[in-house]
């Protein structure tokens, strides 16, 4: 690990904590702009184009607007928990960036030896905040949203972690820095199925795209943040994109090779590669969100448990066997894994049945 203001841990932590907070806030703004701007062409319209060039200042205008709004707390709400929930939701998104290596050894603690374990542990925390918000609002729709969030998180955490274990097996380390270092062939080529499973379960984990059941407008108003307004709502909004940013950064680090790319000897180009990959992953998320309709609850559970979970397990076994057989990451692995991914997806989509949403009760 390179200490940037050399020699002093506290200076390093102080400087990088400030950098990370600034980075997350700026990137969240950029993500909000990017998503709204990308949604436009997808729906044959222009997207925000009023505030500044290409509508670039739209998130700033939104932020100012939301800051000036009244903060309404329901009379029967649990005031403390209601107040605390947005912070609890947003904080993990910030904490994840402690172990993300932006460039080589540069980051808060990029070579933490349990880096990815830390990420998995921290990212789950935000669901506690979501449930706190749902419960403290004293609103049935909020509570339903919170319950859905927990159910979804429990289901999709498993394929997510198993697909991460595949990467850990390949690189032989839990440290994010070492994982990037071992990606002479990017891991999305080595384990295409793992990448796909990670992406899908990450989408479910951050409640985006077709998996945004916990804020399904047509069913439960706005889910857990129905009763939130003003700055607290802005925190949830921030957290939503903060988690999207965190998951994009993790996916870029684990599967696309982080800062690595042509010309990464220079720090600026390395960081640029990292950001390009983050935006690429986020574009994939936007693309899927704009394409697919929202899943039903039973479809969501079925997809998680019957499709992603077994495929993640089988993929893990295949990767483990390959690591034992070849001992090193080779192009043979890429070939075999692409074949295996194709066959597995075909076979499993034939086996995958939902039961048509019917619940049969035996007499």
């Amino acid at each position: 690990m390179t200490l940037w203001p050399a020699g002093n841990y506290w200076a390093h932590f102080g400087v990088f904590a400030a950098i990370i907070i600034a980075f997350v806030l700026l990137m969240v703004m950029a993500f909000i702009w990017f998503e709204r701007r990308a949604f436009g062409p997808f729906q044959l319209r222009w997207g925000p184009n009023r505030a500044g060039p290409f509508g670039f200042f739209q998130p700033i205008a939104d932020a100012i607007k939301v800051l000036l709004k009244e903060d309404i707390v329901p009379a029967a709400a649990d005031k403390l928990v209601h107040w605390l929930a947005p912070v609890v939701v947003f904080l993990p998104a910030l904490l994840i960036f402690a172990v993300i290596p932006f460039y080589k050894g540069h980051g808060l603690v990029p070579d933490l030896n349990i880096g990815i374990l830390y990420v998995v542990a921290i990212s789950t925390m935000s669901m506690v905040g979501v449930f706190m918000a749902g419960w403290a609002s004293n609103n049935k729709y909020s509570l339903l949203g919170g319950m859905r969030a927990i159910a979804q998180m429990v289901s999709y955490e498993i394929p997510l972690v198993i697909s991460i274990i595949g990467v850990v097996l390949l690189s032989g380390s839990l440290s994010m820095y070492a994982i990037v270092g071992s990606q002479d062939i990017p891991f999305f080529l080595v384990t295409p199925l793992g990448f796909l499973i990670f992406l899908l379960s990450a989408m479910a984990e951050i409640n985006r795209g077709p998996f945004d059941l916990l804020e399904a407008d047509s069913e439960i108003v706005a889910g857990f943040h129905t009763e939130y307004s003003g700055m607290k709502f802005a925190m949830f909004y921030l957290a939503e994109y903060g988690h999207a940013l965190a998951m994009s950064a993790i996916a870029a680090t684990l599967f696309l090779g982080g800062w690595r790319g042509p010309g990464d000897a220079y720090a600026a180009i390395g960081v640029m590669w990292f950001l390009v990959k983050v935006f690429f992953i986020f574009f994939l998320l936007i693309w899927m969100r704009v394409t697919f309709p929202r899943l039903r609850v039973d479809q969501l559970m079925g997809f998680g448990w019957k499709f992603l979970f077994p495929l993640a397990l089988i993929n893990l076994f295949i990767v483990a066997a390959e690591v034992v057989y070849w001992g090193d990451i080779t192009w043979w692995m890429v070939l075999v894994n692409f074949g295996a991914a194709g066959v597995l997806i075909l076979v499993w989509s034939r086996l995958f049945k939902l039961g048509g949403g019917r619940v049969e009760i035996e007499a």
Partner: protein, 168 residues
């Protein structure tokens, strides 16, 4: 045997393809204040255009108005004619049915092409004869007047490739 790929998640990939094609298409919406579409030739725009020189003050328009919206006051002129002293239209109550335009026996009343007529107060929507008068630069709609319609530009349609709206 033809391999059927319907139930193997191919629909998802196809759907992604459709949205990606949309992404690279030209948006069909227009950026309104900068770009304005040409309305229909027979557009019943939110104002009337009144030709002072042709109007004889017969008040046929006022009689044909369903709302009783046109207020016309005339006085006797010197050359065996009527002088229109007051010609007022409450465009806040007008339904732009065009009956007054159709009924005018002297082709002195037309519908306008303008559509940006919003105001902060209802009183501002009451248009006096100075505001309604046909002056150079005021456009007349071709409603009930095919000759005017023939001279107007083609309407912009929001179809692919037909968004010929000019930057103004």
């Amino acid at each position: 045997m033809k391999l059927k790929l319907d139930r193997y998640g191919l629909g998802l990939v196809k759907g992604m393809g459709v949205t990606l094609r949309h992404f690279f298409r030209r948006p069909i919406t227009t950026r309104y204040p900068e770009r304005k579409l040409t309305p229909s030739k027979r557009f019943r725009g939110y104002t009337l255009v009144w030709d002072r020189d042709r109007c004889t003050g017969c008040a046929t328009c006022a009689k044909s108005c369903l709302q009783g919206n046109i207020e016309i006051v005339t006085s006797k002129g010197t050359e065996n004619n009527y002088v229109v002293e007051k010609f007022e239209l409450d465009s806040g109550r007008c339904i732009f049915c065009g009956l007054c335009v159709e009924s005018c026996p002297f082709e002195a009343l037309f519908l306008g092409l303008e559509y940006e007529r919003s105001a902060y107060r209802r009183e501002e929507l009451v248009l006096s004869k100075e505001q309604l008068r046909l002056v150079p630069g005021m456009q007349r709609s071709g409603y009930a007047y095919p000759k005017i319609a023939a001279s107007l530009p083609q309407q912009d349609l929001l179809l692919e490739g037909k968004t010929g709206a000019k930057e103004r």
